[in-house]
């Protein structure tokens, strides 16, 4: 996790908030550093994490995670992390008939239907275990990323229903998860992204610079807190620019990059 981003979001692993949906989106740039941040953040916060990784393999996240101080292999072995590797499972789903419906069953079918099997997988993964083993803190669901589902033929409404259910049932029965779904900018149907925006409590949007490529400033991050209560603070929004390095990301106010000053 990136300590600077924690400061901007005003959180820390021991104060992880519960019951919130966070949307990570990216436009004209790569926003995957945000996924790595949240993955390592929640593993360090001792939360139970279910990670639906559709766009990259396990080893990719593991290697980057090690740079950020977490070991995904160890987390998986001790039961803290449930990892669904989309790329690897896709081969199995596509070539072999499955006895029961696989979470990624839509790859085989011409008409994708709904994502209920995927939701049931998530629900099963985040169910509290009564075996008396180390109790984890709030369950967390991470999806990387939702637009892959749209590219593979799943309808926008089906994706929205899946997000709805993850937010609703996993939330109120288990009382606490935080879901982060990341999808790159305007490629997905605009409606799907806008609807998830409406459901989110926190939106982090990574954008490319309007002026084009720059070696020292990789992009701009817009943080939007959405308030749903009339008495709470109205939607607050902050914008920062950032530079990604090998093991961390530095943030600075617009135009205040150390390379320029």
């Amino acid at each position: 996790m990136f300590p600077e981003l924690n400061n901007l979001l005003n959180t820390s692993p021991d104060r992880a908030e519960q019951g919130k949906l966070t949307l990570l989106c990216a436009a004209e740039t790569d926003g995957s550093f945000l996924v790595h941040h949240f993955l390592s953040f929640y593993l360090k916060a001792n939360c139970k994490v279910c990670f639906v990784a559709l766009i990259q393999s396990f080893s990719h996240y593991n290697i980057v995670g090690q740079k950020l101080g977490v070991s995904l292999t160890a987390a998986r072995e001790r039961g803290q992390l449930v990892f669904l590797e989309g790329l690897k499972s896709s081969v199995d789903v596509f070539f072999q008939a499955q006895e029961k419906t696989h979470p990624l069953h839509f790859l085989r079918e011409a008409n994708a239907g709904n994502l209920q099997p995927l939701y049931e997988f998530v629900q099963e993964a985040l169910k509290p275990v009564d075996s008396g083993a180390a109790a984890w803190r709030c369950p967390v669901l991470l999806v990387d990323d939702l637009s892959v589902l749209l590219s593979l033929g799943v309808g926008a409404v089906a994706v929205l229903d899946f997000v709805h259910y993850c937010r609703a049932t996993v939330c109120s029965e288990l009382k606490v998860p935080r879901a982060a779904g990341s999808q790159p900018g305007p490629q997905g149907p605009g409606h799907a992204q806008a609807y998830v925006h409406h459901q989110s409590h926190l939106v982090l949007r990574a954008e490319g610079l309007a002026t084009g490529f720059c070696k020292d400033v990789h992009g701009q991050l817009r943080i939007l807190w959405r308030a749903s209560q009339p008495t709470a603070q109205r939607g607050r929004s902050l914008t920062f620019q950032y530079k990604i390095q090998d093991k961390s990301v530095t943030f600075f106010a617009k135009g205040m990059s150390p390379a320029i000053l």
């Binding site: 550093f33 393999s57 080893s59 990719h60 290697i63 740079k67 896709s90 892959v148 593979l152 990604i244």
Partner: protein
């Protein structure tokens, strides 16, 4: 009237117009030129040679207008210019270089093409093994099955012992997305099977990630009608490079680009096993092909070059 020309003429430059000009502009240019070159309008005392020249030009201009003035023929001509010039000259070259590099390194090659016989792309010799899929019926599912079988049988995914230790499988797939694969994304904007290509790419990537293989695909994106499909395809790939050839475009005669044959656009670079990617500072790459030397340069500076040997 006119002899059949081997090389198709550039009707736009004959009328002195930009390919993006609209019909009324073209008509104006045509009318101006036709008056200039009309045999009856020439003065009587011009030398004989130039009179013939005038007549030839007159006929050319007339021909150009016949093609460009009619909407149907104009569309056909525009399409024809783009397809042959942009992608069928340079992308097969790069495709062959990728495969040739594999032969030098002793890797196994798998070539798939629905348009031409893979054996025509690269001649199999005793030095390396070549697997072709020209006998496959068009269809992504069949191709995926074929690739998976090869990976399994030859041991690239560890299930069977490899014939040669630490061998890598190089896959080359040509013209993916064209109707010859049974996909209609190039034919219509609102196609039935709009997710066939993306599903194919996703499962292919899964196969590549779990085996010792790498794949280069060429795709005629200028033919894909629905631009959202291109965005999805880009998102599902690791590295994406766009080739823009100058042939037939106004850059061909632009003095800024006179030393080059086209531009290379690096659209996406993978960030694999890393937070950052190896993004070079330079985004301005151009290429040229002289005899058998394909050079990629940063305008004036020489970057690196590939030399082809034989076919």
């Amino acid at each position: 009237m006119m002899a059949f020309e081997q090389n198709p003429k550039d009707w736009y430059s004959i009328l002195g117009a930009d390919p993006s000009a609209n019909v009324s502009d073209l008509k104006q240019k045509y009318q101006r030129l036709i008056l200039m070159y009309h045999p009856d309008k020439q003065s009587a005392d011009v030398p004989a040679g130039s009179a013939e020249e005038c007549i030839r030009k007159f006929i050319e201009v007339d021909q150009a207008w016949k093609i460009l003035g009619n909407e149907e023929t104009k569309k056909e001509y525009d399409l024809q210019r783009r397809e042959e010039d942009k992608y069928n000259i340079y992308s097969p070259l790069l495709f062959k270089y990728f495969l040739a590099e594999g032969t030098i390194s002793g890797h196994m090659l798998l070539i798939a093409s629905a348009k031409e016989d893979p054996a025509n792309i690269l001649q199999p010799t005793d030095v390396f093994e070549l697997l072709t899929s020209s006998s496959l019926t068009p269809g992504y599912a069949a191709l995926l099955q074929f690739i998976r079988n090869i990976i399994y049988e030859e041991g690239f995914d560890g299930s069977n012992p490899q014939k040669k230790q630490k061998n890598i499988l190089r896959l080359g797939i040509q013209n993916l997305g064209s109707p010859l694969w049974g996909d209609d994304i190039c034919c219509t904007e609102d196609c039935d099977n709009s997710h066939g290509l993306t599903k194919f790419l996703y499962v292919l990537r899964g196969l590549l990630r779990t085996s010792l293989s790498v794949c280069v695909i060429t795709m005629p994106t200028h033919l894909i009608q629905n631009k959202a499909v291109i965005a999805r395809v880009t998102h599902l790939a690791d590295t994406v490079i766009g080739l823009e050839s100058f042939i037939g475009s106004e850059r061909e005669t632009n003095p800024l680009y006179k030393d080059y044959h086209g531009l290379i656009h690096i659209r996406q670079i993978p960030r694999l096993n890393n937070l950052i990617c190896d993004e070079s500072d330079v985004k301005d790459l151009a290429f040229k092909l002289k005899r058998k030397l394909f050079t990629i340069e940063v305008r004036e500076l020489l970057c690196f070059s590939l030399q082809s040997r034989g076919k």
